[in-house]
Amino acid sequence: MNRRVATIRVKLEKSAAPAPAPRAPAHKRRRMGAWREHHARSFRASLRRLAGRPGATALTLLVMSLALCLPFLLWLLLDNARALGGHLDDARGIGVFLKPEIDAATARSFADKLRRRTDVAVVAIKTPEEGLAEFRSQSGFADALKVLQSNPLPTVLIVTPKIAAASARATPALVDELAHDKHVDQVQYDALWRQRLDAILAFTARVAGVLAMLLGLAALLVVGNTVRNDIVGRAEEISVMQLLGADRAFVRRPFLYTGLWYGALAGLVALLLIAGVEIALAAPLDQLTSSYGGRFTIHGLSWVQAIALFGTSVMLGWLGAWIATSRQLRLGRPQ
């Protein structure tokens, strides 16, 4: 019978909780205020705790931020390499260097012959004059070229094969044929290199991804372990709070804020590290790019990327703390 009374009472309590009594809203508002206050208090207290042991906090932050910035730096490098690779997009064409003795008319007729082939899409003719002009404008050797008495450049045909070069693994048969033609001095085919570069970039991207995951996991464990140590050190406090009727969320809150702080601060340190690396590399990179006539530029972390890095860091910190507290709360019973 007592059991029945108890269950009735439990039911009553259950049904009473959501039913809005006249003063329920005010009561609820008060509770919300208290809840917000506890959040604010946990927010401040956890920061104070971190500041209270600066040495340990700095070490944790450094390990975490290094783990975070390494994959980002690798990714940045990759992104730049990819942008550089973009300049080689036209490498799909076959460069056909005609023999120096071929004159313009023969070259045109040879080009017409090639255009009639089914496996040729486009044939462009670059006369020696055009070639010299291009060379002069791009290579930075303008002064040296002035010394030349005559134009040493041959006529060049740029032949674009009809098959999708990207899908073609092997060298098209056309390249072989052209190489053996009597008009042709030399054939330059860059698509293979382009494919190789693409493969290398894709592989590096995958390496960066795997590395990012492993290092992200490391950052998670660093925070988790730090928070776990914190929890072990405050076991008595947690026990007392639980005995006073604190639920999991209440006990967990300050630790989650600790994780959040670690994440946020480590994110900032990681951004500073990346900025430092950028500054350290800026001068030599400038020299390198200017030697290429400024045809490409090295770009750093964009705002979006910086925010993504920071967000990832905060999330990892929070998650690490959450895992550590969940584990501890599941294992530990108040004594």
């Binding site: 019978m1 009472r9 006073l244 009727g245």
Partner: protein, 272 residues
Amino acid sequence: MIKFEQVGKKYPSGQEALSELSFELDAGEMAFIAGHSGAGKSTLLRMVALMDRPTRGQITVNGQNLAKTKARHVPRVRRGVGMVFQDHRLLMDRSVFDNVALPLEIAGCARGEIGRRVRAALDKVGLLAREAAAPVTLSTGEQQRVGIARAIVGKPPVLIADEPTGNLDPMLSAEIMKLFAEFEQVGTTVLVASHDLNLIKRMGKRVLVLDHGKLIDDFRPAAAAASNNAVARSARDDYPPSPASATNGEGQQVGAGQDAAVPPLSPGQGDA
């Protein structure tokens, strides 16, 4: 308010901490649990606070069947039970005020209300002037009084204390026990475990005597006012009670106790 029905507790090691334990405490009643160490006093209190679960029997606290309390409702049950520990268990990195405020914070009280109630509780234990102090700067007796203020600040219907005077000298102990008796007067159900029989005797309250996990005596001063001194003396002289006197006491007292102690539980009782 607190009801044990045939409660048994057996640890995985096979050690039986409590067996066949039945008693009931009404709302606003105060009782002591006496017995030598290892008799099961702490185990009994731990089960009231849901720190342990019985392996047999039913426990009802504050109208709630503890066996049916799910893990996520344990905090709510604990908020209805004020706890005082032998070593007070104050948080040393917080001020006296913050220590006493902790249960209210947990319960989600507003700041203004917390201030008012913490001061009222500290006033009650006579430590209003020390609210800003750090617990380490207080004497042992004062620390224990802060512990009591923390236990009662949330106005829990049930107050339990495990050897609250274990570390105190006799004068301080008497003072602390008087404090507990005051809470009984405002309608709180108070259950105090103690091995200090002299002190218990002087308090003149109901005493549950445990021995090897069994309830061997349920002594009520009101029911046996005439033989009060005699029983108390025999309890002290014969401590731990010999099997002969235990049987004697059990037959006499538990029988008498059951009449008074098992009224039909009314729905309103849990809110008292």
